[in-house]
């Protein structure tokens, strides 16, 4: 029983960390139809900034997260202007190649400046202690990640379903040309959505660093995991991403607990099975 509970808690926290990172990618792919393999690279940049701020400059955890998000978004703006805009609407292979290229460049450049070592992001005392939640104690950081995940999911849902921006966003997704004709400035919508997606990647990269450690090849190592989450959940779907993250988090965590010698075997077997049965993901839009 204790084991099951441990697995469940770990799986849920891990799933939420995945969700925060991946939902941005899901939005980029669902909205802008861009297969952005460099998404994880932005999470990695955020991790490096946060590590630098918290460990080397001694700033607080909250400040480090804030700086990481702002810094990453600022770095992403020229990239969106100069590179991503040229591949909107291009064939997938073109997008894959361009974004792999961006990923390689980001890995090469960050490691040139920061050195090829694992970057830790020291947690504040309040998060590194276990918290008693009645039935048992849970690591404070796990609770924090879960809370972040729930807030992100709720916030995004509110943004997309209830706000004026959300209406324009959905209109642009459905029919960009029509939205344009109705006076929605689609370029601006794209730019803002891209910034939100990158900001979420940054947040997820920092708070998820306990599960997905920030290291030189982070962007490549987890590229596959992030892509898998999105294609299983269905691009552009928040509930899809939640379900996919929790499910894959559960498969992965359970596999590691119960059959550690099989590593990711079950994870990928599950992915193949799911993608074969649901080629558009659980909540994917029919084409």
């Amino acid at each position: 029983m204790q084991t099951i509970l441990s697995i469940a808690i770990d799986a849920f926290a891990y799933g939420m960390a995945l969700f925060i990172i991946c939902i941005g990618l899901s939005l980029t792919m669902g909205l802008m139809r861009v297969v952005n393999l460099a998404h994880g690279a932005f999470a990695m940049i955020a991790g490096y900034i946060a590590s630098y701020a918290a460990r080397d400059l001694g700033l607080g955890y909250a400040v480090a997260i804030f700086l990481a998000i702002i810094g990453t978004v600022i770095i992403s703006i020229p990239l969106e202007r100069l590179l991503y805009r040229r591949i909107y609407g291009s064939p997938e292979l073109t997008q894959v190649l361009m974004t792999i290229g961006i990923t390689f460049c980001i890995i090469g450049i960050t490691n040139y400046f920061f050195g090829p070592t694992l970057k830790s992001i020291p947690l504040p005392g309040s998060l590194s202690q276990p918290v008693d939640v009645g039935i048992r104690t849970i690591a404070g950081h796990r609770l924090f990640v879960m809370a972040c995940g729930v807030v992100v999911a709720g916030g995004l849902w509110y943004l997309i379903e209830k706000t004026d921006f959300g209406i324009k966003l959905r209109a642009t997704v459905d029919n960009a040309a029509m939205a344009d004709a109705l006076g929605v400035r689609t370029q601006v919508i794209y730019a803002i959505s891209f910034a939100i997606a990158i900001g979420l990647a940054a947040l997820g990269g920092v708070v998820g660093a306990e599960f997905l450690p920030i290291e030189p090849y982070y962007a490549l190592r987890y590229m596959v995991t992030f892509l898998v989450v999105v294609s299983v959940g269905g691009a552009g779907s928040i509930p899809g991403a939640v379900v996919a993250c929790l499910l894959l988090g559960a498969v992965d965590t359970t596999g590691r607990y119960l059959m550690p010698e099989f590593g990711n075997f079950f994870f990928y077997a599950a992915v193949i099975a799911i993608v074969c049965v649901f080629p558009r993901g659980f909540f994917g839009r029919a084409q």
Partner: protein
């Protein structure tokens, strides 16, 4: 067949010019076979894959396991590798062709990762993360020993490459090759012409697997080791980069891309592996923005000899 003569000439020139680097050159040939195999499905059929190393690895491990178990004749080992690769291609095609677009790409990655994990866990047969070492290959045709300098391995590899290249030249200019190009551009049109799409693509996956498996077997024979890196996502991604660099949908492009990529990799990554990543990344971006036809496309455009298809379609 001027192209074949060119390949042989370039191969022999490599033999004379870099006698100390024959192991690397043999590796280039093995990877060139992998990139050629990827060109068949991506360049000619429009199916993008980031998991092509599954087929390469299948050939490498099959040859390696056969060799450890007493089959040491090199040509037989290559045949075993090709058959294993073809079978892996059949499996991979059956799975990948169920989906399209992004889902297809994700399936290709998941398959290579699954193969990787399987090879890692089946350590009784594959040596796991230590790799399968100590392959003792018999002399080629019972005469030519696989020497320490890799001369025999290199010349054997070069001969294999030429044979495969000639066969592929035939295949891509056959009616089947034409049909594949048609499918790449418009599968609906091909169906309206009365041809099924799935079996044609599956056939190409099998051929592609045989070619990749041949490359894997060559790598196993020449290095006498089969490592987990031969079924990795990294190798798959690199193969795609080499192909795009050289140019999709032309067999020469696959060869040119491999040679240039691996040549630069050898030089630059010796200085600093992260410089190499930055360079490859920048190169990829440049190719996408400036030369969607790759280097061969750029060459043809500069000469004005012909307009080729832009980039790839998935």
């Amino acid at each position: 067949m001027a192209g074949v003569i060119l390949i042989i000439a370039a191969g022999l020139a490599g033999y004379w010019l870099f006698p100390d680097n024959l192991a690397l050159l043999t590796r280039v040939i093995a990877v060139a076979l992998l990139v050629l195999s990827l060109d068949l499905i991506t360049g000619y059929c429009g199916v993008a894959s980031l998991g092509q190393a599954s087929l390469f690895g299948a050939g490498a491990y099959a040859a390696g396991i056969a060799c450890v178990n007493g089959v040491t004749e090199p040509v037989t080992l290559v045949a075993i590798g090709a058959v294993a690769g073809a079978m892996a291609g059949l499996l991979m095609g059956t799975i990948m062709l169920r989906a399209h677009g992004l889902a297809q790409l994700v399936l290709s990655i998941a398959i290579v990762q699954l193969f990787h994990e399987a090879a890692n866990k089946a350590s009784a047969y594959t040596g796991g993360s230590d790799g399968l070492a100590g392959l003792m290959v018999s002399p080629l045709f019972g005469v030519f020993e696989f020497d320490l300098w890799g001369r025999t391995a290199y010349l054997f590899g070069l001969a294999l490459l030429v044979v495969v290249f000639v066969v592929l030249k035939f295949i891509v200019s056959s009616p089947f090759g034409m049909l594949c190009r048609g499918i790449k551009q418009d599968p609906v049109r091909i169906r309206a012409m009365g041809s099924y799409v799935f079996p044609v693509l599956l056939k190409m996956f099998v051929i592609s697997g045989a070619v990749a498996g041949t490359g894997g077997a060559l790598a196993a024979i020449s290095t006498q080791v089969v490592g987990l890196d031969s079924v990795s996502f990294e190798l798959s991604a690199n193969a795609l980069v080499m192909l795009v660099l050289g140019g999709l949908g032309t067999l020469y492009g696959a060869l040119v891309g491999t040679v240039i990529f691996m040549g630069f990799e050898h030089v630059v990554s010796a200085i600093n592996p992260f410089h190499w990543m930055t360079m490859v990344g920048a190169l990829l971006i440049a190719v996408v923005l400036a030369a969607p036809g790759g280097l061969t496309g750029l060459y043809e455009t500069l000469l004005g000899t012909g307009k080729r298809a832009k980039g790839g379609r998935t």
